[in-house]
């Protein structure tokens, strides 16, 4: 039997979607009203409080819906009520 000289390596590599497309978990989707949004980088409370970091920090705001879990925190915390949670069919 030949000696196995390859070291066993159990180091994970960083990648998106470790848990799959977590956008599938949503029952409600955030919709941004860009007119209502202040479009000021001094606000960005939605970006600040999104646990999953899926809101862009640049305007017009974009939400990565492949991974947004639909928690609704962004809509709740937006001071201008510019984000609405819409029921997914």
């Amino acid at each position: 039997m030949s000696k196995n000289s390859t070291p066993i390596r159990t180091v994970s590599t960083p990648a998106e979607g470790e848990a799959g497309k977590t956008g599938d978990w949503r029952s409600q989707t955030p919709k941004i009203d860009h007119e209502k949004c202040s479009q000021k980088d001094s606000c960005l409370l939605c970006w600040l409080y999104c646990p999953d970091g899926v809101i862009s920090a640049t305007f017009p705001l974009e939400i990565n819906l492949t991974y947004c879990k639909g928690c609704g925190i962004c809509a709740e915390e937006c001071p201008r009520k510019a984000i609405e949670m819409v029921d997914d069919k």
């Binding site: 590599t13 960083p14 979607g17 980088d41 409080y49 646990p51």
Partner: protein
């Protein structure tokens, strides 16, 4: 300089999207901002069995960009000590070692290894994210769960004991830096982790991390719950630098303007308190008032 605007926070995310943590998770928001305060290539994280391990993902991929070592449940303090020793032996002096454990892994099963590391003055940051129970395994009680909370191991009478005072235990080790934080106050949290990064010796930060499924509140209310905890005095934001105690952020503002919320405002949105008795509620309020008054006294004594 204290962070006062979103503009000052680094925009790079250290956690890639599509993680296993629940929607609206307080740990996720905590970790997201804590990692922004650390250097991507120069941070090594030690994590015990917990929701944090789940967040870190299943081999061969992970959503987190910093190097992480998964350690046994009770061993976080020891694992971090080993990493620090290894870095020293290989002459790498520019790394920050950060242990990141839940309250079960800190207050209960990990306390021996933690106390050992703190007593040796190991050069690392220990962050306890306190979601007040063993959440990963189904909301069992821990010594950090509050009085009156229903958990899966206190289903009938709810919890009969107050939360353990972990800060006092940690303080007994004479650390150069101790702080509390909340993901509902990300600037304060970011600043404390950033400050801790440059302190030598053992640093301890405890973050109150609301957990929607474990506490029984809607996902969207995560930030509200975190704020209510601070505004009711259930969780006090402070830091202790070389023994000097200072209130920070919203708690500091409350010290000046007064506390307007009470415990009943905080618990009413959480189903874990659905069985709380009038007597327990009064005890929880009394316990909270006592801690708040002690914090005020210490703050004004150390900051005349």
């Amino acid at each position: 300089m204290a962070t006062t605007s979103v503009k000052q926070l680094p925009k790079t995310e250290m956690i890639l999207p599509g993680t296993r943590s629940c929607a609206g998770c307080g740990l996720m928001l905590t970790y997201r901002h804590a990692l922004k305060a650390l250097d991507e290539g120069k941070t090594i994280v030690a994590v015990p069995a917990s929701c944090m391990t789940v967040l870190h993902g299943v081999y061969p991929i992970t959503p987190v960009k910093v190097v992480c070592i998964n350690n046994p449940f009770a061993a976080t303090g020891a694992a971090a000590s080993g990493i620090v020793a290894g870095l020293k032996a290989t002459g790498k002096s520019d790394y920050t070692v950060v242990a990141f454990a839940g309250d079960g892994g800190t207050y209960d099963i990990g306390i021996q290894a933690l106390s050992g590391a703190l007593e040796r003055g190991v050069n690392f940051i220990y962050i306890c994210y306190d979601n007040e129970g063993y959440m990963n395994t189904g909301t069992q009680r821990s010594s950090a769960s509050p009085l009156g909370a229903v958990t899966s191991t206190t289903p009938i009478l709810s919890k009969l004991q107050h939360k353990k005072d972990m800060i006092r235990i940690v303080e007994a080790h004479d650390l150069p830096y101790i702080a509390t934080g909340s993901p509902a106050f990300p600037f304060d949290l970011f600043d404390k982790v950033k400050y801790a990064k440059d302190v030598l010796g053992s640093r301890y930060i405890e973050v109150h991390a609301p957990c929607p499924p474990g506490w029984g509140f809607p996902n969207k209310d995560l930030v509200k719950m975190g704020k209510l905890a601070v505004e009711s005095g259930i969780h006090v934001l402070f830091e202790i630098r070389e023994g000097r105690f200072s209130l920070t952020s919203r708690s500091l503002a409350m010290a000046k303007k007064g506390r307007k919320m009470n415990v009943s405002d905080y618990i009413k949105g959480q189903t874990r308190f659905k069985k709380i008795s009038g007597a327990h509620l009064a005890q929880l309020q009394e316990f909270t008032d006592k801690k708040w008054n002690e914090s005020l006294e210490r703050h004004f004594r150390d900051n005349p």
